[in-house]
Amino acid sequence: MVIALTAVLIAVASGIYYVESLIPFPLPVGRWGFSNSVVLFYAANFPMKFPLIVAAGKAIIGALLSGRIFSPPFFMGFFGSIAAAIVESALFRLKFGYTGASLAGSAVNNLVQMLVGAFLIKSKYIFSFLPMFLIIGSVSALANAYIAKTFEKVWRELQ
C-alpha cells in the first residue's frame, strides 16, 4: 500500500515540479517549489525513508522531464530536496506543525542549494541570491503547509 502511494506521490510531485516551471517567478532564477508540499505531507505521516524516496524521485523525474538531468541545477535541487525532507521529518517527530516544518524545510532547501551551487562554481557570490530566495521560499512554504494539510485531510477521509 505504502509503495503504491509512494509511486503515485512521486508521479504527482514530478508533475507539479514540471508544471510549476511554467508559472512566472519574480526572480530570474528559481521556482516556487510547490512540489515540496507532497514531500511535506509524506514527512508528517510516514517514516523518514518514504519522504526521502519521494524527494529524490521527484527531483530525478522532474529533471528528466525538463531535460536538466545531471546538470548543475539538478544537483542543487536534488540535494536541497533531500535536506528539506530530512529536516521536515525530524521536526514532525519533535511535534512541530506543518507551518514550522515547511518554513524550516524551505530555508534548508535554499541554503543547501546555495552551498552546492557555491561548491560547483567555486564562488561564494551565489549567496547574494539567498535573502530573496528565503523570503519568496517562505511564501511558498506557507502555501505548501496548507496544501499538505489538505492532502492529509483527504488521506484520512480515504482511510
Partner: protein, 120 residues
C-alpha cells in the same frame, strides 16, 4: 498533525533572524566601494578583467559560452549557450551586483575598489 503548533513560532523567529542577517550582509556588501573594472571568473579562476566599454566574447575550453557587454557603468551578457539563459535574464548589473551562470560555472562582478587612505 497540526497546521500550526506553538513550537512553530520559534522557527518563524529564527527564520526572520536569518533573513535579517543576510539582508544586512547584502546591504553592507553592496555599499562597499567598487571600481569600474569587471572581473570574469570561470570555475573560480579569474580569466579576464574588463575596464573599457565594449563587447567581449567569453570562452571556456575554446568554445564561446556567452558575450559580455560593458557600457562603462553597467554590464550584461547576451547570446549565452546555457540551456535556461538565466544569466541573460539577470539583465544589467551595477557595481555590487553579479552575473552568475551555474551551468558554465561563470561569475562576473565588479572589482572592489582599493582604499588608499583613510581619514581616521
Amino acid at each position: 498533525m497540526k497546521l500550526f503548533s506553538k513550537k512553530d513560532a520559534y522557527i518563524i523567529l529564527v527564520l526572520f533572524g536569518i533573513i535579517l542577517f543576510f539582508l544586512l550582509h547584502k546591504f553592507v556588501y553592496e555599499s562597499k566601494k567598487y571600481s569600474s573594472v569587471l572581473e570574469v571568473f570561470i570555475n573560480g579562476k579569474l580569466i579576464m578583467e574588463v575596464s573599457e566599454p565594449g563587447t567581449y566574447p567569453i570562452y571556456k575550453d575554446g568554445e564561446r559560452i556567452t558575450t559580455l557587454i560593458f557600457n562603462g557603468r553597467e554590464a550584461r551578457v547576451v547570446n549565452s549557450r546555457c540551456p535556461l539563459k538565466i544569466c541573460e535574464k539577470m539583465g544589467w548589473i551595477k557595481p555590487g551586483g553579479e552575473i552568475i551562470c551555474v551551468p558554465n560555472k561563470l561569475v562576473i562582478k565588479f572589482k572592489e575598489a582599493k582604499i588608499d587612505a583613510q581619514t581616521w
